[in-house]
Symmetry: C2
Subunit: 323 residues, 2 copies
């Protein structure tokens, strides 16, 4: 047993990841949690810089998200969108009236030379969030989805085309020149780190862009804490989004084992949903420890329970590696 409170770094995309991030935020001391957000699905739209995963994390942790959809803001209205339509503007990406303030103010501050890290930190503090939310990089990285009909910017694939095109691969434009955002190295350093948690996000479009930032994956490998991923695949299906469809198109099994295999050497532990009980041996055969539990997070209590279980699992892995 450690005598101090666990300290954790979480990697997250949007909706699914943000659920566990909220659980972690309600379990850990605020100063002991740092969330690294995917920015590969950020994009420029209507002259604004939109950062869907940072915003979903921020709204979720601030308690102002739309709890029905998991993305966007609660109590949202759509007058801007209706007026855009009347003016002939693009309306395929839904921007609520409340949400829009985030994009307008962030874009203004980016244009004035501020960093995404600084802006994200200021927004979360103004919204009363204590744990740190860090973009993976201040350098723009843009996920491009390769399809048989050519490359598609991520949001065009994801929102405009509703994930219909067949995926043949991904590239992360700008990643080669990106650096991990300030604060990431510090968060991952130190003997007191208890866990690196890969939230139940899409490995290809939410987590791989984070790994594509040069140096970041090495920092994870070097971290003095076990790396534990929570499967985004439950019972062979993605709870949210195109993960399973994408895996099939990429020629992978669309199951939790394939997710564990995708993360490979990085993993010390993998959290499988109880409905995937048959897969635990296959994951263990990869040299990865397994925690089997209910990973579906419907209620706040579910999120907190899963967060506690993941942290306890990581603690055990940490103790055994030190033992």
């Amino acid at each position: 047993m450690t005598t101090q409170a666990p300290r954790c770094v979480a990697l997250s995309g949007g909706v699914g990841g943000a659920k566990l991030a909220l659980g972690l935020a309600r379990t850990l001391l605020p100063e002991d949690l740092t969330i690294i957000a995917n920015t590969g699905d950020d994009f420029e739209h209507l002259g604004l810089t939109i950062c869907p995963d940072i915003d979903t994390l921020t709204y979720t942790l601030a308690g102002i998200s739309n709890t029905e959809t998991g993305w966007g803001r609660g109590g949202e209205t759509w007058q801007f969108m209706a007026s855009m339509e009347a003016l002939g503007g693009e309306t395929w990406f839904q921007l609520g009236d409340r949400d829009l303030a985030t994009h307008v103010e962030r874009s203004r501050r980016l244009a004035s030379g501020e960093t995404l890290t600084g802006i994200t930190g200021d927004f979360r503090q103004r919204l009363g969030i204590e744990p740190k939310i860090l973009p993976m990089s201040d350098t723009p990285v843009r996920t491009i989805v390769e399809t048989p009909d050519g490359p598609l910017p991520f949001q065009h694939y994801f929102v405009r085309e509703q994930c219909a095109p067949v995926v043949t691969g991904f590239r992360f434009d700008g990643a080669a020149d990106a650096h991990p955002a300030p604060g990431i190295a510090e968060a991952l350093a130190g003997d007191d780190l208890s866990a690196v948690v890969i939230c139940p996000s899409n490995p290809f479009i939410s987590i791989d862009p984070i790994f594509a930032v040069p140096g970041l994956r090495d920092m994870l490998t070097a971290a003095k804490a076990p790396v534990v991923a929570v499967s985004p695949i439950v019972g062979g299906k993605a709870l949210k989004g195109p993960t399973a469809k994408m895996m099939t198109e990429l020629g992978l099994d669309s199951d939790a084992v394939a997710v564990a295999r995708h993360y490979g050497d990085l993993l010390d532990g993998f959290v499988l949903d109880s409905s995937d009980a048959g897969s635990d041996d296959a994951v263990r055969s990869l040299g990865v420890d397994v925690l089997m539990t209910d990973t579906i997070m419907k209620t706040l209590a579910d999120k907190e329970r899963l967060a506690r279980e993941v942290l306890t699992f990581a603690e055990k892995l940490g103790n055994s590696s030190h033992g």
Copy 2:
């Protein structure tokens, strides 16, 4: 009597001018009205290009303005502003959720290289407005208010400082390099032009910026139609805004005669409110014909009646100059 319908060019600022512009739009054939809008009070705010007078004219003529305030949109909501405040953004300039679409889409199109004339024309057509609304120029011109404490960008003076600073003068940044917008020369050319109407707008901050565009005032002087201004001062007071206060600070009488004197040689006719009956001789002594009528436009019927009277007045002036 002319046998054809009158053709008219109107010069206008925001609220007061837009009322008469609406009256003219409901009186003339759509193809016979061109409105030249002041862009001197345009400004860049939150990364957006905001054109208050163009927008007031557009919303008014489209029947979607806030009829209480005269500016902004009817049925407006303020979720964006409330969210901006929570994020620590600037909130001194009110941007409604509906209104915001205009600024975001215009800014996007300007950034992509489109002209303000083109965008304004497209917006008005999409909103069902048939008469042309032209910005005075596609080149940005920015009204700067000179005060004892230094220069203030117009909207800082007008909205943020609520017109409190003493005005010592104006300058129109960018005007020297500006050109009249495409369509203005054509609208002012031709023997069939019946009237140039200077709407009841503030002469210093709504009309003078238009005159500051090199060549534009000469086009008005050369036009084959009488130039008729409607006084924005009624009974020694501005119906709206800081006109009277401004005139006092500039050392002028704050009366309708001073407005007529300000426009000077340009004027053929001046429309005085009946409550300023004592001023008509003073205006006539400037060599300017006078129409005395009720110029307060509360109802749509008021706007239409005044528009008809102004056009009939201009027609008489045109006939007498030809006679």
